[in-house]
């Protein structure tokens, strides 16, 4: 009897394997959300709204991760914001959905939808649900600081966060520094180190990546200073690394933390990380400014 069951199951698996070679379940070209309203979803969940929120959270994580890993050129993150709205409507205390959701939303295209405005709106909803949670104000400040480069607004939110119960002591000085000096790299490092202090692999990796980018920005600035010196001396920028290495007595071709050589533009002499490096593009404070042109 058992042998018969095993044999029949094997046959059914075999048939399935053969069928799957020529058939795929229908997938709409653009992903669909069957429900359009969070409050409606909450009603029909019949008391299981937290479980429903967990399901939608897993869907949001898989959706975001799936698109990020996809090789498609035209990445569409259109459902990310509605999915996060569902999660937080169903479970208004779902802290991670607000905090990580904001990180997903802010990531610049093609790694994310590049919507800091939606991230701020999401975090503000979190703040409405739990006004005493310092992390939401801190994260809004972070979005203003890192993505929008609005240091006045960032300082205001850091200050507000610092006044909430349980806020770390470094928030108050950070607010003051941000207001006084704008987006200096030391503050950026402090923020990323704080975000990276987690057991969640991808967030830690993301923070480490940002810290490496900040280090690379320091090196690029230093190298561009050398280019400037070369240009004033020679009356033209260096055309290739060999010239700069020889004149500035560098130890060799400078490499970034990923092992890629920095790129030197032979026309302008401008130095930046190589587009082949995983650190490219560097998050310079304002779009288009990039590393200082010598």
């Amino acid at each position: 009897m058992l042998a018969a069951i095993a044999a029949l199951l094997t046959v059914s698996i075999g048939v399935q394997v053969v069928r799957d070679r020529g058939w795929q379940p229908y997938q709409p070209q653009t992903a669909l959300l069957w429900f359009q309203s969070g409050p409606l979803l909450k009603r029909v969940s019949l008391g299981f709204q937290n479980l429903m929120a967990d399901t939608y959270w897993i869907r949001a994580v898989v959706y975001y991760g799936g698109i990020r890993r996809s090789v498609e050129k035209n990445r569409d993150f259109g459902l990310l914001d509605p999915l996060l709205t569902f999660v937080t409507t169903l479970d208004p205390h779902f802290k991670v959905a607000y905090r990580f959701g904001a990180i997903f939303l802010t990531e610049a295209y093609p790694n994310g939808p590049g919507r800091p405005d939606r991230a701020i709106a999401l975090l503000q909803r979190g703040l409405e649900a739990s006004p005493a949670t310092w992390e939401y104000s801190h994260d809004i400040g972070f979005v203003y600081y890192w993505w929008l480069h609005d240091y006045k607004a960032a300082a205001r939110w850091f200050e507000r966060s610092a006044q909430l119960p349980g806020a770390p002591v470094w928030l108050k000085p950070l607010a003051a520094t941000t207001l006084a000096t704008g987006g200096d790299r030391q503050s950026s490092r402090q923020l990323w180190r704080q975000l990276g202090d987690t057991d969640i692999d991808w967030l830690r990796r993301s923070a480490q990546h940002r810290l490496l980018q900040l280090d690379a920005m320091d090196v690029v600035d230093e190298l561009n200073r050398l280019v400037q010196r070369f240009t004033s001396r020679e009356g033209r920028p260096p055309r290739e690394w060999r010239e700069l290495i020889a004149s500035e007595r560098l130890r060799g071709l400078p490499l970034d933390a990923t092992g890629q050589p920095y790129a030197l533009d032979p026309l302008t002499g401008r130095i930046d990380v190589s587009p082949q490096s995983t650190l490219w593009p560097l998050p310079w404070p304002r779009e288009g400014t990039g590393p200082a042109t010598p």
Binding site: R43, L46, G47, F48, Q49, N50, L51, A53, D54, W57, I58, V61, V62, D91, H93, F94, K95, V96, F100, D197, T198, D199, I200, W202, L203
Partner: protein, 268 residues
Amino acid sequence: MRAIWFVAGAAFKESVRDRVPYTMVVFAVMMIAASYLISELTAGQDLKIIKDLGLAAMSIFGLVIAVFIGIGLVSKEVERKSVFALLTKPITRPQFILGKYLGLLVTLVVNLSVMTVAYYLVLFYMETTATATMRASWAAPALDPRQLIAIVLIMGELALVTAVALLFSTFSSPLLAALLTLGLWVAGHFNHDLRQFEQVVDSRAVAALARGLYYLLPNLAPFNVRAEVVYGIPVAASHVGLTLLYAAAYVAALLVAAIAIFRRRDFK
């Protein structure tokens, strides 16, 4: 009282014969599997999701048992004609009904207790394997004893649903009884809307009718404090006490109604 326990014992044994304890095994396997799999997909929210899943599963499994065993408690005996043999013994009809109810209640209590142990074992595993940073990010400790409040209230809700199923079982077919019980369970979760009906309708009569239905239909939403315990939000003792008192009163009313209907039934 002995007669009631006799019927209760028989009902409990029957539920065991109906393979009800298998649900406990399914629950334990599901919890263990979830604790392994979910961490890969939840971006650091495994504990919250395990708690949500565990408490929801206890509620759903309990509901399925309460409805699908409850609806057959009386009607099955009538269909099989075993009710004749039972009622020839020194057992009155009220004792039969109360015994049946108690038997299923014991089944549910045993089931829920075993599921609670499995649930806490999985949480204990998560507690012991978590790092200090993970623990710091938890809204409430893994082994927070306040979760027992939610489980007690789930039991209260199931006691009420069982009484509803038993009531329908005394006068209708199992299929109809299942539909009616599930219908009332759904209505019980939408009940709160009836209370606010007067804010959306102009007719005072309709508003009064809605308010009447609000008080008449079982109100099941207050039994759900799962979200609160998962986040460590305090649940007032008075809320728990009054909700359990409400369940006791409502169950008593349903049992009296079931007894009254069953007394009048003619099995000839």
